[in-house]
């Protein structure tokens, strides 16, 4: 992308905002967001990410996007993963190892059922909303 002018930046911001809030109707309407700060990676977040990708392939799910993010600060519960999908509340899961990742895909994404014992609370409300 070329250097932006002021107007182009404004348009880009609007478009991105629309895209980020309209994710529910996009092709990939399920988001799995894996925390990949140093604490997460030290606790195995890379293995968790790989486990998600493998299980999604195994289950032939094409509407799920797996993204990375920084650390949420819930260090006692790393690796942390947020799952956002239409028809379900946004859930933050903690202590997600490879086995739990598989459970999340099968129970949460496919079965629309929460996975016991791994749910943590969002630390604070979003000041951007």
């Amino acid at each position: 992308m070329a250097k932006l002018s002021l107007e182009e930046l404004g348009k880009l911001r609007q478009n991105k905002q629309r895209e980020m809030s309209g994710r529910e109707t996009a092709d990939k309407n399920v988001e799995i967001i894996v925390g990949m700060g140093t604490s997460g990676i030290a606790s195995g977040a890379k293995q968790t990410l790989d486990a998600f990708l493998a299980e999604l392939t195994e289950q032939h799910l094409t509407n799920v996007s797996v993204r990375q993010t920084g650390s949420m600060g819930l260090d006692h519960a790393e690796p942390t993963v947020e799952v956002k999908m239409p028809g379900m509340p946004d859930i933050i899961y903690g202590k997600v190892d490879a086995e739990t990742a598989v459970k999340i895909v099968r129970k949460h994404v496919l079965g629309k059922t929460l996975v016991n014992d791994h749910i943590f609370d969002r630390p604070a409300a979003d000041i951007n909303k």
Binding site: K3, R13, T38, S71, T113, I127
Partner: protein, 607 residues
């Protein structure tokens, strides 16, 4: 099969001990009785971090947050809330009580933390500039370039009351104003990302999770004071942060948000990363500048301050990562908005790295003025294993301890200073009854000895003297007047050291002397360590009147020092005992003492 409601029952240790398991079971029964067990899912969660108000139950999707729930409430939750759609108002958390420190409209139903600095961490992909832009990113830079004059930008920071978050708490607007007023064709902006305090990693998290917030802030600073070059000094021990910064810089350059003629204005700004080799002293601004210049990381006396003469002798702003991360929000929301958070003299939020003997360790961002108790017992989830809280160490190696008596202290610059500690970078290390304060002071002094640059005698020699004295105390070989000597040397270092490292390294000693004099005396005069840490001063003894001869300690002892006959009191051979404390931890009858005031008599060895 989708559910209409999800009931989340907090399964953290605090709530568990308060019958959350029974609440969970009752909810199942009630759901069955009301015939809705197939349309509502009831789950147990991890700790929600609101422990003093537990047991906690949260209902989704409507996000009702119930506190102080009892097993009997299950009936109302199912029948009133789920079936009839009427939330049980008496159980709802009422935030008005606690949040006196935030008076802005962003508070929704409840807030444990208030994330301004960490607003994008854990939300966006830090390697995608567009996600940053989509969340109001670079809007503040637009204002600084096209809508506000440099004086207006600085005034916004003044109204906000932002103070440096690296530890000194110097008013940020003033630092920028002084640099703006300095006459020079060339000026610099430096971001201090050295983060040397052990146990502090909030800066690292911002750099890894939201690097653009720092880049944007530095560019704004450049516009405000007339600088066109920025450097981020980051310790090489943070490879992921460095990678994310370099990715962000590259992406910003590609979009013209860094580099020549930004966004079509006539302002140009470039940022480069410089790596530090991990020396604590290089977090001190003049030593950091020396390091960037290619010299040894050694401080020099101030004045001149960097605002007058900094990098290569030019006027330089040097700000901490967290300070900078606040700047874009202040410009997009206004200084007024920011000033409504926190206390009179300490505005805004602070990110703390909560570690040590705490259940929910991690990063906590709260408004200034939040009581320490909230951080430890609510958000932090309390002390593991039901152990007793002893003290919390704040401010890293430059800080002091705060004891249980002061647990209701609001956290801000002034209160912490009054207690003999400092805010520092925001490290908070929780200690329990098994931590020895002399051992803690020794750890920090060992750190200071290693990290002292050696340039000035008070620090180079003083820290070594303090460490030597602490070591003698922990071995039971200290002179009777050692506490006075510690205070003398410590105070001399505070007054005469060239930089903050030497001036502050006595703080852990002076603070523990102030609040734990008894513990020092026990070591010095009675030759015992009550917490069981200082091996030479700990004697493990089996109490005859409590021991029932179960032999568990004998089986667990790694050095075969315990012997006895079943059902008769056992005996520890002091010659073989390695003071590991295993017998003390495993005994179910509290029959092992480590805090004996009796000096060990020679013990006969059982055959």
């Amino acid at each position: 099969m989708a559910f209409t409601h999800y009931i989340l029952v907090c399964g953290g240790t605090g709530c568990e001990s308060n019958k959350s398991d029974l609440i969970y079971k009752n909810l199942f029964h009630e759901a069955e009785a009301a015939n809705i067990k197939d349309s509502v899912q009831i789950v147990k969660t991890g700790c929600f971090g609101f422990c003093e108000r537990g047991p906690i139950v949260k209902i989704l999707p409507d996000e009702s947050f119930y506190v102080g729930v009892t097993p009997e409430d299950a009936k109302d939750i199912i029948n009133e809330h789920i079936v009839k759609g009427r939330p049980v108002t008496r159980l709802l958390y009422k935030e008005a009580e606690s949040k006196a420190f935030v008076r802005v409209e962003d508070i929704r139903f409840y807030q444990k933390q208030f994330r301004v600095v960490l607003r994008n961490c854990g939300v966006i992909n830090p390697e995608d500039i567009q996600e940053y832009i989509g969340r109001d990113g670079y809007r503040a830079l637009e204002r600084a370039l096209f809508e506000l004059s440099p004086d207006q930008v600085i005034n916004e920071l003044k109204v906000a009351g932002l103070r440096g978050r690296g530890g000194a708490g110097f008013p940020t607007w003033l630092k920028w104003d002084l640099t703006k007023k300095a006459q020079s064709e060339q000026k610099y902006i430096i971001c201090n990302a050295d983060e040397g305090d052990p146990g502090a990693y909030m800066d690292r998290s911002v750099l890894e999770g939201d690097p653009h917030s720092v880049l944007e802030a530095m560019t704004i600073a450049g516009k405000a004071v007339g600088a066109n070059q920025g450097y981020i000094y980051c310790r090489a021990e943070y490879p992921l942060a460095i990678f994310r910064l370099e990715t962000a810089i590259r992406q910003a350059n590609e979009l013209g948000l860094l580099g020549d003629k930004i966004l079509g204005s006539d302002f140009s700004f470039n940022i480069e990363v410089r790596l530090g080799a991990g020396a604590f002293v290089c977090g001190e601004e003049t030593a950091l500048i020396a390091s960037i210049e290619g010299g040894r990381g050694m401080p020099h006396p101030r004045p001149p301050f960097p605002a007058q003469s900094g990098l290569w002798g030019k006027p330089t702003i040097i700000n901490n990562v967290e300070t900078l991360a606040n700047v874009p929000v202040i410009l997009t929301r206004g200084g007024d908005w920011f000033a409504k958070i926190g206390t009179d003299k300490s505005k805004g939020t602070k990110v703390f790295a909560l570690t040590g003997k705490i259940n929910n360790s991690g990063l906590v961002e709260v408004p200034m003025g939040t009581p320490l108790r909230d951080i430890i017992y609510n958000i932090g989830g309390g002390i593991p294993g039901g152990k007793k809280f002893k003290a919390i160490q704040t401010g890293g190696p430059s800080g002091g301890v705060i004891t249980a008596d002061y647990i209701d202290t609001p956290i801000d610059y002034e209160h912490l200073q009054a207690l003999g500690s400092i805010m520092g970078s925001g490290g908070m290390i929780v200690m329990d009854e098994d931590d020895c304060m002399i051992d803690v002071a020794k750890f920090y002094l060992g750190f200071a000895v290693d990290e002292s640059c050696g340039k000035c005698a008070p620090c180079r020699i003083g820290s070594r003297q303090l460490l030597g004295m602490l070591e003698s105390i922990s071995k039971g070989t200290a002179e009777p007047d050692v506490m006075q000597k510690l205070a003398q040397v410590g105070k001399a270092m505070q007054r005469a050291s060239l930089c903050g490292l030497g001036q502050n390294s006595p703080n852990p000693v002076l603070s523990t002397l102030r609040y734990f004099e008894d513990e020092y005396r026990a070591h010095i005069e009675e030759h015992r360590c009550p917490a069981g840490k200082c091996k030479e001063l700990v004697t493990y003894l089996i109490l005859d009147d409590k021991c029932i001869g179960c032999s568990l300690c004998e089986r667990r002892c790694p050095s075969g020092a315990i012997s006895g006959e079943k059902r008769k009191p056992y005996l520890i051979n002091q010659d073989l005992c390695i003071k590991c404390g295993e017998c003390y931890s495993v005994c179910k009858f509290s029959a092992v003492s480590r805090d004996s005031k009796v000096a060990p008599k020679p013990q006969p060895v059982h055959a």
